[in-house]
Each structure stands twice: as structure tokens, then as C-alpha cells.
Amino acid sequence: MGPVLNAWAIGGILAVGLATFYIGHRSSRLASTTQDFLVARRTVRSRRNAAAVSGEYLSGASFLGVTGLILKDGADALWYPIGFTAGYLALMLFVAAPLRRSGAYSLPDFVEARLSSRGLRRVATGFVLVIGTLYLLPQLQGAGLALMAIMPAPAWIGAVLVTLVVVINVFGGGMRAITVVQAFQYWLKLFAIAVPTFVLCAVFLGGGDSTVPRDSLSQPTSPTFSKDTTVDITTPVTLDFGEPAWVWVDGSVSDAEPADGPTHMYLRGEQDFPEGTSIRFDAGDPVPVVAGSPVYNSEWLRAGDGGAPQMFTTYSLILATFLGTMGLPHVLVRFYTNPSGKSARRTTMHVLLLLGLFYLFPVLLGALSRLYTPELLVTGETDAAVLLLPDAMLPGIGGQILGAVTAAGAFAAFLSTSSGLLVSLSGVLSTDVLRGRVRDFRIATVIAGIVPLVLAIWLRPGDISLSVGMTFALAASTFCPVLVLGIWWRKLTGIGAAAGMIIGGGLVLAAFVTDIVSGYTGNWAPPLVEQPALVTVPVAFLVTVLVSKATARRIPDDVNRVILRMHAPDPLGFIQDRDVAKFGKGEERLRLGSGKHRR
């Protein structure tokens, strides 16, 4: 799969970059105060906010990753879009309105307002920074991969491009600027995935490429190459030849001596391929897959095919996404921009609608790409499916234009998610680490942009959706217990919340590191390590409750007042006073000191 220089796609990406930049710049002119930068003055109406939330939330993991996972794992990957959407239902049921009414402007601020503990605030700040950076990494790396798929460019170009546009936008207008940008980008992404899906489905139903057997998805066979294909292995991989095949191999294979020049080999079962090997397949050959994925189409089509372990992984994934969404700092920060608790809840309602609409399309594209771009299964670069599918199905100018549209959508995805993450990271950095003035916000923006960029270029690009899955698990095991118990349970104490966050988060981070190490040393880790939420979330809840019970004397004095403020309906007017009075003006915060001013 050599990169094809697609001028249309480059034009599309540039157009998205420019539009983003222009809209951001136009709204930046209105932004002047800290309120503008952190929460857009809390005046964003629920529909626009919903579009902005969706625009921010539909990251590369949704735009490219879901299709890629469906291409690879089939029916079991359908749980990703379900979980990504259902997370908003949990957010709406348990968190949205009370969180907004608490009047906080960031997660650490909420935690401190509820439990009046500076120490806890620092723990929360730490986890916000970790989650934000972990989430930002795959966005930047994904941008690099996407750019590589459409033009010959080194991986870091995409990451640098995205960082640059986003930092400039956030630098200029913070939340005020990116609200409009993100709302615009939701509709852009919906367009960029819906139109190609409609066209490609029409091509598929109308007969299309006659070399592809159209009913092969339900057959108990491997997918087949529709034309002669050469695959270059760039990272060492184990391929599973479910159906034995004669292929030309240039380089070495696990159980054969390396030969000079291409060798015609008969391969079956699992084979290891080192870096630098290239394999040539003829049209009609069965496609081997990366070991661990379903080999046959019939297997791919069935849900729950992996037996009990697969079922537990699925439940773990459901738990992580269902509860993790409410703990993502960049999602929550958007809910502080609503004017009232009621509008925060309505925002979530609209988000459910917008996400449900969007996720219908990647599913269809995933199924089509199994037929038309099976060569991606060999390299494991399935995330590129959305970008390459149009050209594979519609060779010629039509496919190129559609490819340009999807490439533009993918870049919109990287840009909008990165800007949301950057705003939440800089908001927390500027108010909790620096002094909270507009100038500090700008300094924080630059720091929060450069650090992940360096990490993204330095670290090995993982599977976009998998590292995103880990972020969800982390959010579900740290902030979810604090938010849910903090809002609904009066007996929560600061020590309990801190213990739950540290133990839950520590477990997930340990699993994450184990997973990376195992990835380098032969994949020995059990699947639970890859998706640990099924264990870590209950543990985090349990620890939080038990430690809170043990430290019942430390229940904050003003708990009743805070609960009242969070739950009293908006017209009673308990919500309005705090925001303006205490907004993060650095000087005032310093003078008021210990956080008592929050009452």
C-alpha cells in the first residue's frame, strides 16, 4: 500500500485548516476576559453547545478508528460506537445538570468546591493532565498516519500541522473561539462521512466492481484480494494465514531461511514477519490477518464469537465507555459553558441525537472496507480504511474527490478534539499551576501543545482506538466515582475521593504500562490488561466508599449547602451567585487563599 499523492485530499485538508483558523479568529475578537477563555462566559445555548460537544467528541478514534475496528474485529467492534454514545446517557442521568449548577469551571474546581480540600484538587489536576495528554497523543499520531496515507510525508508533519492550527486558535480566544469552530466541525464531519457512505453504498448496490464477490461477507472464507497487491511490513507482525496460500516473499519469514530475492512460498497458520519484508499477493488470494483478529468472514460477522473471554472484554469495554465519558475533562468543560443546569441536560439530549446519527455511517463503511480494502488487514493499519476506501471502490476522479472529503473530515476530527483537549488542559494548567490570568492561559496553551507533540513524535503509534479505550478506562476509574458519589452521596470525604482516584487510576496506569511492555515482548498479557475497566472501576468505587466511611468525621461542613446548590432547580436561583463573584482572577484567588471564598 504505497501512499498515493492525492491533490484533492491535500486541498481538502488545507481548506479545513483554513476554515478552522478563520472561524476561530473571527470569534477570538470577542474574547477578552478569563471567563471568555475558560467557559465562553457561560452563555452557549444548548443546541450549539451540543454540536460543539459532538464535534469535539468525535475524534479520530470515531471518524477513522471505529471503521478500522469494524474492518478488523467485525460485530464485536460495534460496541465501541454504542459505548461512546451511551456514555452521554450516563452523563445526562447522573452528572450534567448538578455539575453545571455547582458553578465550577473545571474538574479540579468542582472537586474542591464539593469537598473543600486543596490536596484533592491537586490530585484531580494531576489526573486531568494525564488523561488529557493520553487522549491528545493518539489525535496527533492519528493526524500523522492520516497524512501518510494520502501523501508521502513523514509522520510528524501531520502532528505538527494539527498542533500549530489548534494552538493558534486556542491562544487567540480560548473557549470562546473554539465553541463555534467545534460546532462547525461536527456538521463538517457528518457531511464528510455521510456523503461518501451514500455514494459508496450506491456503488455497491449498483453492482460496482465486478471483481469483488458481493456476498462473500457471509461465507466461511477469508476475504480475498481483488487485485495484485504488494504489502510492505514496516512494523514486525504475526500474520494468521487461515487459508493456506502461495505468496511471493521478499525477506525472511519465521520458519524459513531468508533468501536472496523474492521467493514463492506456501504459507499456512501463524507466521512472523520482521520489519522490511514485503509480500506480494495475486488477485484472488485469501487475505491473512494480524493474529488475534477473526480470520474468516463468517467469524467476523458473528457477535460474541470469542467465547467467555471475549464476553468479559466486551463488558469491560461497555463499562469503560459508559462511565468514562463523564470523566473526560474536555467533555465536561463544555458543560460549564451552558447557562443553566436545565440547558446542560438538554445539551446532552441533543448530543445523543447527533452522535447516534453519526455512528450509523462508520459501521457501513467498516463492512464495505472488509470487501474492498482487505490489504489493510495485513499491515494492521486498519485506521486508514475510511481514507482509502473511496479510491478502492471508485477508481478515478470521483473516488479521489470522495477521498478528499473523508480526509478533510478526518482532519476536522483531529483538529476539533485537539482544540477541546487543549482548552481543558490549558484551563487547568493556568488556574491550578499558574496564576489564572489571561496571559497565564496563553502560556499554558503553548505548554499543553508542545509537550504532547514531543511525546507523539517520540512514542510508537499505537492503535488509535485502543489507546483511546485506555483513556476511557482511566477516566471511568478516577473521576467517575468522585463525580457520581460527590453529587449523590453526602457522606463522601476528601480522603475517600483521593484514595479512590489514586488506587483506581494507579491500577489503570499499571495495566497500561504492562500492556505496552507486553506489546514489545511478545503479547503475553491477558486481555483484561488491555481493557481493565471491569476490575478497576468497581475497585475505585469500593475504595472511595470504604475510605469515606472510615473517615466519616472529615465530611465537609458545608455539604448540605453544596448539595442544595447542585440539585435545586434553576428557577430557585441558587446557581447564579458564585460564578461571577469568584471567577479565576489570579490576584483575587491568591488574596483569598485557602479556597474558603467558594461559599
Binding site: L89, D305, L352, L360, I563, H567, G573
Partner: protein
């Protein structure tokens, strides 16, 4: 104001000679000629005089050209103290009586309290705010009902969606079935959850908003 009412007798003596007050206040003291005759011929007991003086002070405070009523009104709506609200109302009556005798004053808007939180509601709101037993009970009840509502909806979704992996595991035959050429799991996982989630969200939103509205109505009546 207090200096004016305290210095009543001294002022009456000086009347007609030279105004001690700046011209801008002339209108304010246009009152005094009217009032003075009423005071003068009466069998001046000290008690009566005191009372009249007090009333006049009240009247002067409510003089239509002063901005006082505005400030008082705003203060009342901000602090939500209903006793202060009554005070303002009494002064307003006074002012109306006086307005008949004077040239018609310009229309003034007197804000007694926030229109959305009438005086009757303020008592309950302040009970909520001051954490009385009743207020605490109200809030506990509100939180309990909201939590029950949220848990019920979460349970609904968990039962409907969460059962699917188990069903696929226990009854693999379902995964083979097809409806109009599309395998059932793909319909159950790829399409149906989204309308389900949206309609549950819509339903919950409606219920939660209705409950909040009922609570507000209850507090305000």
C-alpha cells in the same frame, strides 16, 4: 435624611428667611409649607409632634424624585428578606397619598422583588437556604426522587443493552439469524441502540424537567 428629621424645629424657625439647603433640593422641601400649618395650630403635645415628624421623614424618604424606592426595591430582591419587602410596600402607600396633592410625578418602576420569586416563595427559599429541618427534608426528598429517576432509566438501558453479550454467548443461534439479508447482531448492535438511547434520553429529560417544575411550583405556593 436623619439630620433633616432631627432638625425639624430649627428648620421651621428659619423658614422664609433663607434656605439652608441647596436649590436642587427645593422641591423636596416644597412639602413643608403644606405640612406646617397642620402642625402649628394643634395643641402641640410633644408626643404628637414626634409622630408627625417621623411620618414626614418617611414621606420624604419616599419622595418621587428621589431614587430611593429603586434602591430599596433592588436591595429587597437581592437579599430576599421578606420583612424588608413589607417595609417598602408601606412606604409606597405613603408616597401614593402624597402624590395626589403634588403635581403628577413621573412614572417610576418600583421593583419589590424578583417576579419569579414572589414573597410567598421567599419564605420556603430562605428555609432551604438556612438549612432548617423543613428545608433539609425538602432537599433530601428532591435528591432522592431525582436519583431514583436516574437509576431507573440507567437500569432500563443496562438491562436492554447489557444483556446482549450474554445472549450472544448463551444462544449463538441468534447470531446466525438474518432479517432481510442483514445478520441480527448487526441490526441489534449497529442500528437499534441509537434510537433506543435517544428516546430514553428524551423521556428522562421530560421526566426530570417536569419534576423540577413541580418542585418549584410547590416551593412557590
Amino acid at each position: 435624611m436623619s439630620s433633616a428629621s432631627g432638625g425639624q424645629p430649627g428648620r421651621r424657625d428659619e423658614q422664609g428667611k433663607q434656605p439652608r439647603w441647596p436649590a436642587s433640593d427645593a422641591d423636596q422641601f416644597g412639602n413643608t409649607p403644606q405640612q406646617s400649618p397642620a402642625n402649628q395650630p394643634a395643641t402641640d403635645t410633644a408626643r404628637q409632634d414626634k409622630r408627625k415628624g417621623r411620618r414626614r421623614a418617611g414621606r420624604r424618604k419616599a419622595n418621587p424624585d428621589q431614587v430611593d424606592p429603586y434602591q430599596l426595591g433592588a436591595k429587597t430582591s437581592g437579599s430576599r428578606a421578606h420583612t424588608a419587602g413589607k417595609g417598602v410596600r408601606a412606604e409606597q402607600d405613603n408616597r401614593d397619598g402624597q402624590a395626589e396633592s403634588r403635581k403628577p410625578p413621573r412614572r417610576k418602576r418600583v421593583v419589590l422583588a424578583d417576579p419569579r420569586a414572589p414573597v410567598t416563595a421567599l419564605r420556603t427559599v430562605s428555609e432551604l437556604e438556612q438549612q432548617t429541618t423543613f428545608g433539609e427534608w425538602l432537599i433530601k426528598d428532591l435528591v432522592r426522587i431525582q436519583l431514583r429517576l436516574a437509576l431507573a432509566f440507567a437500569a432500563l438501558v443496562i438491562v436492554l443493552l447489557g444483556a446482549l453479550p450474554l445472549v450472544f454467548y448463551l444462544a449463538p443461534a441468534i447470531t446466525q439469524a438474518k432479517v432481510v439479508g442483514v445478520p441480527v447482531p448487526w441490526l441489534l448492535l449497529g442500528v437499534l441502540p441509537f434510537p433506543l438511547l435517544v428516546s430514553v434520553g428524551l423521556w428522562y429529560n421530560r421526566r426530570a424537567e417536569r419534576h423540577e417544575r413541580d418542585f418549584v411550583d410547590m416551593v412557590e405556593n
